[in-house]
């Protein structure tokens, strides 16, 4: 433990003051530009206050904000450029701002300072629940494809491919998605989102619950997306997945980029620092 801490401090010395300078590769076409991004969001922690109607009224009379509102500075000045064909792994300990960064790229969190620029609309696949959990898997496929702007013919044409890719247990396609295991739900969601080519796809642990077979297939799908000149961002705690899939890794530490570069190099440094 002590050793790990020492290593961490040594690592931190050169990079903590300023993140690695962004070097632009003029030969490649950028698809996501993150420019000095700061994300601050407010959280309501339940504790402290009694949370009764009386205290709520008192709070409104005193014109206070909601109780226990804390500001979390989750991303602190991140800059980088992602190019077409990149598959970028994002690693970091819990709470280092990985998911927040992805949400910000998707446009779901407003930047406090700085900005995110993308070509096309990013699509974010998170870990949480189904798309429409009260509807059957098959309805989810149809509606998901239609929502992404595919025509009815395209949807019909793609349907079998999606079913095959999700590879659910027989019969499950006709059950509501709320009855799916987390792995099955994640597979179906990924399959639906992958039915259409996306310019930017953000995958937040969405593949973590899949089994080995699915991981292989999703890697193939990600490679395909990269070939179509999109960019894929992958957050995963399973470093093997990142090493196999990505051509570049960004290591976030406490909301800052600590390292950005070749997967093997970054992952080795990350593993050393976290003492795995």
């Amino acid at each position: 433990m002590a050793v790990a801490k020492a290593v961490k401090e040594k690592e931190q010395a050169p990079v903590a003051a300023a993140q690695p300078a962004v070097v632009i590769d003029p030969a490649r076409e950028p698809i996501v530009v993150v420019d000095g991004l700061h994300i601050i969001y407010r959280v309501y922690s339940g504790g402290g206050n009694k949370g009764t109607a009386a205290t709520a009224l008192l709070r409104i009379i005193k014109r206070e904000n909601r109780p226990q509102m804390k500001e979390v500075h989750a991303v602190k000045g991140v800059s980088f450029v992602a190019y077409r064909g990149d598959a970028i792994g994002v690693v970091g300990t819990n709470g280092s701002g990985k998911s927040t960064l992805l949400k910000a790229i998707a446009g779901l969190l407003p930047p406090a300072r700085g900005g995110v620029f993308t070509d096309g609309q990013p699509s974010l696949l998170g870990v949480n629940a189904a798309l429409m959990k009260d509807l059957t898997g098959s309805r989810n496929i149809t509606l998901g494809c239609l929502a992404m702007g595919m025509s009815q013919e395209e949807t019909r044409a793609k349907y079998d491919e999606v079913v095959k890719f999700a590879d659910l247990k027989p019969g499950f396609i006709d059950y509501p998605m709320s009855t799916y295991s987390s792995g099955m739900g994640a597979r179906l969601r990924f399959a639906i989102a992958a039915a259409r080519t996306h310019d930017v796809m953000l995958i937040d642990e969405a593949l973590a619950t899949g089994d080995a077979k699915f991981k292989r297939r999703s890697k193939a799908k990600i490679d395909e997306l990269r070939k179509d000149a999109g960019a894929v961002f992958l957050v995963a705690h399973n470093l093997d997945v990142i090493e196999e899939t990505c051509n570049r890794v960004i290591w976030l530490d406490d909301g800052r980029i600590k390292m950005d570069g070749d997967p093997q190099q970054v992952l080795r440094a990350y593993t050393d620092a976290t003492g795995k």
Binding site: A18, Q19, A21, V22, V23, I24, E29, P30, V33, V34, D35, G36, H38, I40, Y41, K70, E71, V72, H73, G77, S79, V81, A104, I105, A106, G107, L108, L109, P110, A112, R113, G115, V116, F117, T118, D119, Q121, P122, S123, L124, L125, G126, A129, A130, L131, M132, D134, L135, R139, L143, G144, L146, A147, M148, G149, S151, Q152, P176, A193, R256
Partner: protein
């Protein structure tokens, strides 16, 4: 969401040094934002121009219709009677109101066919009421869909009103049977039902879009909405004859209240449908002083529909990039 000036106050974190970090391209001195702009990249999740937005929405019409149909089927899939509830719910509703207002409170005076009068009112108003309630939840209940896939968010309030429209069509079939059974003749004026309900549909979409934006950011509205719709119900002449009420208000010097009751969109659509379906209703109105004429009612309905739709759509569209945030 957060105030930039509060940057320094978060947990004692000093951000000054990072903010000055060189997010500049070392070679040409061009900032990253300029670099992004030069390569045609746009601010993530920016709102598309209105024209493009309308086109996108029109392109999603199959999604809207299929979404509504699937959701309706799913709503009833858990219950034993299944989709039979689509018919039972309006019938039971009408039964309850008839019991209270028709039999117990005896509101019938001056109305020849009170059953048809009451049930028409209940069914027509329910369409608006349920559209409003569904609209308020349409964004909040579909957050995972909004976050995962990109589509014009207005599809969701639209789809929820279409769900209610599908319910309304069933209710209308039930209503026609009831109206015929209570002795009204089948006349050409029944055809007026179509434009009346179309105008109401447009109006409902408009108010649903507006309440959808409010409900997406202020969840409290969902607690408040039942009280608002119930007050509106009681003001819309579902149980009583509006012209009669207006006349008595006029006598007491509250003419402006009467005017509000008269142009109230809830009442306007109900009156139009009653006029279309109930031949006996014309005779009821003939004896009352100061009845709003049919052409005036149609004008009110048209103005309400256009104003609500244009206003609601614009209001919803203005926050397009913010739905699903947080």
């Amino acid at each position: 969401m957060s105030h930039p000036e509060r940057l320094g106050s978060s947990g004692g974190e000093t951000v000054g040094t990072i903010a000055e970090s060189p997010h500049m391209n070392g070679t040409s001195g061009e900032s990253l934002a300029d670099f992004a702009a030069r390569n045609g990249l746009k601010q993530s999740a920016a709102r598309p121009p209105l024209r493009k937005y309308v086109q996108d929405l029109w392109q999603r019409r199959t999604f809207i219709w299929n979404f509504a149909t699937a959701k309706t089927a799913a709503t009833y899939s858990g219950s034993r009677l299944g989709q039979l509830w689509q018919i039972l719910t309006p019938l039971l509703n009408a039964g309850v109101y008839y019991l209270i207002f028709g039999l117990l409170l005896g509101q019938k005076k001056g109305i020849d066919n009170y059953t048809a009068f009451l049930i028409t009112g209940v069914f027509v108003f329910t369409f608006t009421q349920r559209s409003l309630t569904a609209g308020a939840k349409s964004v909040g209940n579909n957050l995972s869909l909004i976050r995962a896939l990109h589509f014009p968010r207005a599809s969701l309030p639209f789809a929820h009103v279409i769900m209610e429209l599908q319910q309304l069509l069933i209710s209308m079939a039930v209503l026609m049977v009831i109206v015929l059974a209570t002795g009204e003749p089948l006349t050409w004026s029944w055809l007026l039902l179509v434009p009346a309900l179309l105008l109401q549909l447009v109006f409902n979409i408009g108010i649903s879009l507006a309440i959808a934006r409010t409900g997406a950011f202020v969840r409290d509205i969902q607690q408040l909405l039942p009280f608002i719709t119930r007050t509106w119900l009681y003001l819309s002449g579902v149980f009583f004859l509006i012209p009669e009420k207006v006349a008595s208000l006029d006598e007491n010097g509250y003419g402006w209240v009467g005017k509000i009751l008269e142009i109230n969109p809830g009442a306007v659509f109900i009156e139009l449908v009653r006029g279309a379906l109930m031949a006996s209703y014309d005779k009821d109105l003939a004896g009352v002083h100061g009845v709003t004429s049919q052409p005036t009612l149609w004008l009110y309905a048209l103005v309400w529909a256009v104003v609500a739709f244009a206003g609601g759509f614009w209001y919803f569209y203005r926050a397009e990039e913010r739905y699903g945030r947080g």
